[in-house]
């Protein structure tokens, strides 16, 4: 049976999540055997035999201690499930140190991958083995999903905002990527491949053929766009304060907002500030920036964000 033959855990996320799966499976199996065992045993042991008179049965209507026990014991079990599940979730949904960024843009029914050096591939994500990656994902139309069964992780991809997925490609090979959110007639054929390559093969692919560099790198593009759209009139890149906050060291910093809230300046925040500048204004700055919705494309914004990250 083909499905059984595939041994498929191919990333630290898969090993960790499989461990949670086995833990829950073990504890659940205990409760399963206990409950179904008692059910079947009582059904057989206390059956009324054919032709027999209705037997005497007990008048007992309940037992307080028992109720307390079977409230507490399952509570402890589910608490353990929650904690273990939470700890591993936090781990596999957090950025790995030294990870590089790849932008993912989806539309009905394709995945487009945009690498830092400006290249793009369709329905095929190539990564060198051993280098962690952060996927910054958005959709052009409806909600799509991004699921790598062999990594045990998935994330929906939304139009109008970024979602993230963190990959640790620790094993070479070709792995399936499936769309998991119904997105129209072609949903079930919206599939891509993750190809994890040895570093030298990856370098060779990068420098030649289909992967050859065709455009300026994404950060160069971001720099050019900043100049073109006049961002630098109000935002400095050296830390000095102009009309708006400086881009230097902006990415990843905690920002105090007008109204007392705080926000981390991640991709989502920067994107929102470009398209809807008045939504979250940094404390001490005037709300004067115009929206760039309609004039900048999603690709432009992704490039600008990539460039801002280099200013840290």
């Amino acid at each position: 049976m083909n499905a059984f033959a595939q041994s498929s855990a191919a990333s630290p996320s898969a090993w960790k999540i499989d461990a949670v799966f086995l833990f829950i499976a073990g504890v659940s199996l205990f409760f399963f055997l206990l409950v179904e065992g008692m059910l079947i045993y009582f059904a057989i042991r206390y059956r009324r035999r054919k032709g027999a008179e209705e037997g005497a049965t007990s008048e007992v209507r309940g037992n307080f201690i028992l109720e307390v026990v079977w409230i507490l014991v399952p509570s402890l079990a589910v608490l353990a499930f929650f904690i273990y599940g939470y700890v591993v979730y936090r781990d596999v949904t957090s950025p790995q140190p030294g990870s590089s960024d790849i932008n993912v843009v989806t539309g009905q029914f394709v995945y487009e991958f945009k690498y830092p050096d400006g290249r793009a591939t369709m329905d095929e994500l190539r990564l060198p083995v051993g280098k962690p990656v952060k996927l910054i994902m958005t959709s052009r139309d409806v909600i799509h999903g991004f699921f790598i069964p062999d990594y045990r992780i998935k994330q929906d991809i939304l139009p109008g905002r970024y979602t993230y997925l963190y990959l640790q490609p620790d094993k070479e090979g070709t792995f399936d990527i499936y769309c998991t959110q119904y997105c129209g007639v072609g949903h079930s054929t919206m599939r891509a491949k993750l190809i994890v390559m040895p570093p030298d093969a990856y370098a060779a692919w990068k420098s030649q053929g289909e992967g050859a560099k065709t455009a300026m790198s994404i950060t160069e593009k971001g720099k050019a766009l900043m100049e073109k759209f006049g961002c630098l009139g109000c935002h400095s890149t050296d830390g000095s304060v102009k009309v708006g906050p400086s881009f230097k060291g902006l990415y990843g910093r905690e920002k105090h907002l007008e109204g007392g809230k705080e926000v981390t300046a991640d991709e989502q925040y920067i994107r929102e500030s470009i398209f809807d500048p008045g939504a979250k204004v940094v404390k001490g700055f005037p709300n004067v920036m115009p929206t760039y919705k309609g004039s900048m494309t999603d690709d432009d914004v992704a490039a600008i964000i990539a460039h801002i990250k280099t200013l840290n």
């Binding site: 083909n2 399963f32 059956r47 009324r48 049965t57 037992n63 139309d141």
Partner: protein, 544 residues
Amino acid sequence: MTENTADGKALSGNGRSRGYLEEKGFRSWALTLDHKRIGALYLYTTLFFFLLGGIFALLMRIKLMYPGQQIFSDQTYNVLFTLHGSVMIFLFIIPAIPSGMGNFFIPLLIGARDVAFPRINLASYWIFVAGIIVIMGSLLRPMDTGWTFYTPYSAKTAANVTLLSFGIFLIGMSSILTGLNFIVTIHKLRAPGMTWHRLPLFIWGMYATSIIQVVATPVVGITFLLLAMERLFGVGFFDPAKGGDPLLFQHFFWFYSHPVVYVMILPAMGIISEVIPVFSRKPIFGYKAIAYSSLAIAFIGFFVWGHHMFVSGMSKTASIIFSFLTFFVAVPTAVKVFNWIATMYKGSITFESPMLYALTFIFLFTFGGLTGMFLGALATNIHLHDTYFIVAHFHYTMVGGTVVGFLAGLHYWFPKMTGRMLSEKMARWGWLLTFIGFNVTFLVQFYLGYKGMPRRWAEYPPQYQSLNIVSTVGSWIMAGGILIMVSNFIHGFFRGDPAPSNPWKGLTLEWQTASPPPTENFETIPVVTDWPYAYAKRKTTGDG
């Protein structure tokens, strides 16, 4: 078989009386104010849609037998899974037990002559029918969004989403009216002496259900109105291209659709709480624990909707809180299961078809509940979400739980509703095939999901084929079981042996009147002096 009228306490007339079924003719049904007739109308309607939804499911399984199947197109499959989900949930599971059996049995079980507002009750049935007609109208350009209507896809597709959502809006209105009616009925029309702690547990389940319907249903109604406004007038609530937020729709939708899961399961648990003590000849164990756990489930159920959205892009903090709360719905559910099993301890158990279905409920629902642990835990959820693991899990809880509980109720109350007995032999065959077929169909789907096969897939890579064939064959076995069961209902209805007033020797009030009950239910309203579970034959104390 002779008619047995000797054991009825409050039998009015002889067993030959057709009771509330006496009057004939279209008007006598269409304009009836009798809760039993309205309940029967709901049951006929919902059973029809159960079979229709089942046919959709069989067609889906045929499509999935092998990859590249072209008996019908991918788009037809997408429409089929949407119709299967919508019909089964909105036209069968949600109304079947609450509106069907609830209408028929709440007044009988609490010793009332009718519900509090018989005219509203009739209106709610016809609003339900109006909703069905509107939904059927949407089939001209059938929907393919799935029963979850996620935006922005549902706001953009050319299919008739607006019409379908308006139909569901009407059905929701009908649910709200029925829920209100039941709450007032249970508060005001209990027979003398029937204190809250003498209420049958089915009534407790229905009470909790009605509260959920009244509180949660308006939210889905409003959500569908917003969706209609977005589609008709271009108001951007949910489409980011118009400044909306697609996640807002998911929050609204699950704020209703998660609590409604308990609208489906709580009444079924109520039925199980009635059947187990009758066929074990023992008092129900832990009455208060079972009663209050229904309320606890209804209450906690309002705070866990986010567990449908762990991978949606919702904030991580929200995911963590929802995961924590989700696990604590499991506790009152486990309490019920333990109490049912404790009820069987040292009983004198017989295995007529209602009991077979009740035991099946405990067996399958326990399995469904435990597989839910993998989905409540965040780490495993991000692997299993939106795969066949989810499909298998909710079919174990919704079919293995609610539908099996509903069938337990149908077999248990069939003699009371129709005045005729079912063939026990056919009932057992139907049960056996349904049980085997169900497990063959859905057990393998857990593994398919673990191996990564997403749900709502018209096509799949060849490595998933072998288990899909098993699942499809299982669906045929199950269909055979349902077919035998339905034949048994039809045969029993027209040709079944006349039923005595109390064939299972139950102590709840519906068994203390004729089968079928007269229009006014009871000749004189009974006075209640004890709880309804005093089944022990010989009193012993300090045992167990």
